[in-house]
Symmetry: C2
């Protein structure tokens, strides 16, 4: 018997979760579902209409039905008849009022384009979310939330740069220490762009990288001016792999050599330069953390992001990147760095921290460290 939140069910899990499972359920996505429930609770609507167009086992929707009191309708879709059957049984076993649920069996994109006005739409496919973005954002109502998961993190982070450019239209940057953050910022850019082309503003309100996937929640607004305001936060990342200089610039600000050390600069993007989190939303999620049965990991993740979001920087530093760039033999412990740079830790990397100091200041403090070593 598997239990997740208020849901119990029987399912034979293979050793490796794959898309060939008859009914798809991934136990490693529990944190993903935990946090989506928590976010749902913060939405300023009563009577939510939520949609999971690739519903699979349906555990996510069922948890939303059982663990929040805000759903008016849970709309499930999956091409697989077995999955829909499994979900139906699950609903029955948990005594869910049938009038609260709709079950469809259609191609996800066609389904999304035939329905409108959802408060929340889940895009959690195998691999890249790109084929579903345009259809999904059309199905959302104003102020609704688009929840996107991407499991093609190695593409977004730079292991396959030509695939990243083809699929997302941006160049990643594996050779910086915050390559995962670059990846999530490229994913955000793609969603922003897909919205903007149809005069919608999709703004990221909560983003994270966890295990094998990236996750970003977007709030949708409508109108060209709002879309332009979001688009204005898209640009390029300049990065120096010698002195770790990094800066976000617009197209006209691109330059070739590092203003600090003269090294040839690397470029990534276009990507999202704006904030990864809406701090008010984070605070609301934190306050509500007792309202949902969160796993220990979910809680830890949320806690770290809440601290991290106090410093809204483009990129972070890691101990090993600083050690390598400045030839610090044995870098001091991370707490020392946090003190020196007035830093906060990042959830992206166990040895990473954000700091608001300027690059000039950063270099000076690193050199002080070197002299003391």
């Amino acid at each position: 018997m598997i239990r997740e939140g208020k849901v119990c069910f029987e399912l034979n899990l293979p050793e490796v979760v794959s898309s060939r499972m008859e009914v798809f359920y991934n136990p490693h996505m529990r944190e993903n579902r935990d946090l989506s429930l928590l976010l749902l609770l913060t939405l300023p609507f009563e009577k939510l209409k939520v949609c999971d167009p690739m519903g699979a086992s349906g555990v996510r929707l069922l948890r939303m039905l059982l663990e929040t009191q805000k759903l008016e309708k849970a709309v499930y879709n999956d091409l697989s008849a077995e999955s829909a059957q499994f979900f139906r049984k699950l609903l029955k076993n948990h005594c869910v009022d049938e009038s609260m649920v709709e079950i469809h069996q259609e191609d996800a994109c066609v389904f999304l384009r035939r329905h409108r006005d959802f408060h929340y739409v889940e895009v959690d496919p195998f691999g890249s979310p790109v084929p579903f973005l345009e259809s999904a954002l059309l199905s959302l109502r104003r102020h609704g939330i688009l929840a996107v998961s991407a499991t093609d993190t190695s593409v977004l982070s730079g292991t396959y740069p030509s695939t990243c450019f083809r699929r997302y239209g941006s160049m990643p940057l594996l050779s910086c220490e915050f390559y995962h953050e670059v990846g999530i910022r490229i994913l955000i850019k793609k969603v922003v762009e897909e919205g903007a082309k149809l005069d919608y503003a999709l703004e990221p309100v909560f983003s994270y990288s966890y295990r094998h996937y990236f996750r970003v929640f977007f709030k949708k607004q409508a109108g060209p001016k709002r879309a332009d305001r979001v688009l204005a936060q898209v640009g390029y990342l300049l990065f120096c792999d010698r002195c770790l200089y990094r800066a976000g610039v617009k197209l006209e600000g691109l330059q070739n050599s590092c203003p600090y050390c003269g090294n040839r600069l690397l470029v990534a993007g276009p990507l999202w330069l704006g904030s990864l989190w809406d701090r008010e939303l984070l605070e609301a999620m934190w306050q509500l953390r007792g309202a949902v049965e969160l796993s220990e990991n979910s809680l830890k993740l949320l806690k770290r992001i809440r601290q991290e979001a106090t410093l809204n920087t483009l990129g972070f530093y890691t101990l090993s990147a600083i050690g390598k760039a400045f030839k610090l033999g044995q870098p001091p412990p991370i707490q020392k760095f946090l003190d020196i740079f007035k830093g906060v830790r990042t959830h992206f990397s166990g040895e990473g921290f954000r700091t608001a100091v300027s690059h000039q200041e950063f270099l000076e403090r690193v050199h002080e460290l070197l002299q003391r070593a």
Copy 2:
């Protein structure tokens, strides 16, 4: 009675054609339909399945049925019941075999996503084709043709740059003399990008600007490598509004000042840097020109493009731009320019020509002209 090609019908045309017409037919798009028929004749398939998802009056499909012998099926879709009714009557009046036609009445994008394997799909909406691109290219078979019209030419050409950036993700450039060509290259980039994100290669094979619209035909191929080869031809345009220097570069080749005169360079893009025409296709269309009843304008346009395509350059020059930039009081007639620069005329502008000479050579010949003046 209106006659176009082999089609005759009665319809009250308002003075200004608008989307509020009960049944939409635009007599100014005759050349658009002429050339699509001609292109259809060159396709290496017998028994074509063609689709017009926003079929309107249906005159285009009916002409394809009557004026080519290559159709197996004409698939018509339009949300408007009046339009479908009009098309049905038109078919009857022209004694068309009903088994060759399918008529649907659905949202164009939903319709396109529920059908596959068309040899030819027409995207000819009011305004921008952007909302239809992703759905349309999915419905095409390999080696099929996507025919795209865009009537938002002022957006693409730079009158509303923020709208262009929002809708197409690129910066236009109104201050160069070939701003229309920049616009069509931005349109092509958008289609290439929409294809590439789904691992399709959409390559432009025939492009033109005429009256109030841009028109581009794309051949679809599948697979990441083919998509990458097409994407490799996307980049940026550098332009100097002092000495008329222009160059296509990739992201890493962007620079700020003109290598010839030191002036600050303007940047447009990302946009298509590759060829606007497949010359073999153009030749085939030219050979077949007698097989379709073309208007005089269609023939003139095709003839000029056939000459123009012999010089595959990024951008062209106009007499007035040269006159203004180099203070030629009274520029000599265009034939003189064609001789001096070994140029060919362009269909984009009556006073424009393409030349293959380098910018150095261009400047030298302009200065010779100045000295003789």
